[in-house]
């Protein structure tokens, strides 16, 4: 997994790029949703089976986003699509991991092929550095702290 700084920053940049102003926080929440797979950590003393592993697949994410969006006071479809957008960005970012290939089965159970492109190691801090810098610059620009003067 990339770290949550990368996921949150990229989700924020996506909302800016797509012009999502209302309920931006739902996209950001969705961007960390597939990492619910880590809940297994709390159950690891009971069994080696991880019941949450499905949350890191496309279908599991879809269902989890559908469930979570019922807990937000917003139009269900709107909430669902925003959370799903964030989750999709998470899976896409995780696909960039694993330079040796075959790491994730994102499309399980529909397809058990590997879907990662793999060019960055999981423990690299560079994605966090670049994405958080870009998100910070975008935030400062949006708030008016950074001015880009048009050329004359």
């Amino acid at each position: 997994m990339p770290d949550w700084i990368t996921h949150v920053s990229v989700a924020f940049l996506i909302t800016l790029a797509l012009g999502i102003k209302e309920n931006r926080s739902l996209v950001i929440l969705g961007s960390v949703l597939p990492d619910a797979v880590k809940f297994s950590f709390f159950l690891s003393f009971l069994s080696s089976f991880n019941p949450f592993v499905v949350f890191h697949t496309a279908l599991g994410t879809l269902l989890f986003a559908a469930l979570l969006s019922t807990f937000f006071d917003t139009a269900w479809r709107r909430g669902f699509s925003l959370i799903l957008l964030g989750s999709a960005s998470h899976l896409l970012l995780d696909s960039l991991h694993g330079p040796y290939g075959d790491y994730y089965w994102f499309l399980w159970p529909l397809w058990t092929g590997y879907t990662n492109f793999g060019f960055v190691w999981h423990d690299s801090y560079l994605p966090a550095l670049f994405s958080s810098s870009a998100a910070l610059a975008a935030l400062l620009y949006k708030k008016g702290y950074i001015f880009i003067r048009p050329r004359k």
Binding site: I5, S25, F52, V54, F64, T74, D102, P109, W121, D123
Partner: protein, 136 residues
């Protein structure tokens, strides 16, 4: 459809999917016999023991251990990612990458988590009566 019925229905689907993942495991990386004669990779494994070129490794998250063969001697306790071909139930490693900070994503996430809580808390408050997040 009532809200609770909708939640319950989705939860049933998630449970079913989870049960399917028990029957047909998603991550099968550790059963090398299924990859006999094929290229295979093992990510973030901890070296438990080394007997010459044979190394016993296991995922840093736990689980079963497997035997890999490397032409270099890895330090016991070090964390590496491996790629190679499976022969006779062992991974003959062709390339490997040593991880100096395997827990880095978790360290960074410990900073990302408060940011997420701050963003959510700014816009939403939890209403215990309706068990739902409402706008501030």
């Amino acid at each position: 459809m009532g809200l609770w019925l909708k939640r319950f229905t989705i939860l049933v689907f998630i449970s079913f999917l989870s049960y399917c993942s028990y029957l047909f495991p998603i991550f099968e990386n550790w059963d090398l016999s299924k990859y006999e004669g094929e290229g295979h990779s093992l990510y973030f494994v901890k070296v438990l023991d080394n007997r010459g070129l044979n190394h016993v490794v296991r995922s840093i998250y736990g689980g079963d251990s497997v035997v890999v063969v490397l032409d270099v001697e890895l330090k016991i306790g070090s964390v590496v990612s491996l790629y190679g071909e499976v022969k006779d139930g062992r991974l003959i490693v062709e390339k490997y990458h040593a991880h100096e900070h395997p827990w880095m994503p978790y360290y960074l996430s410990s900073f990302g988590f408060p940011i997420l809580i701050f963003i959510l808390n700014r816009k939403w408050r939890f209403d215990f009566q309706s068990i739902c997040f409402r706008r501030r």
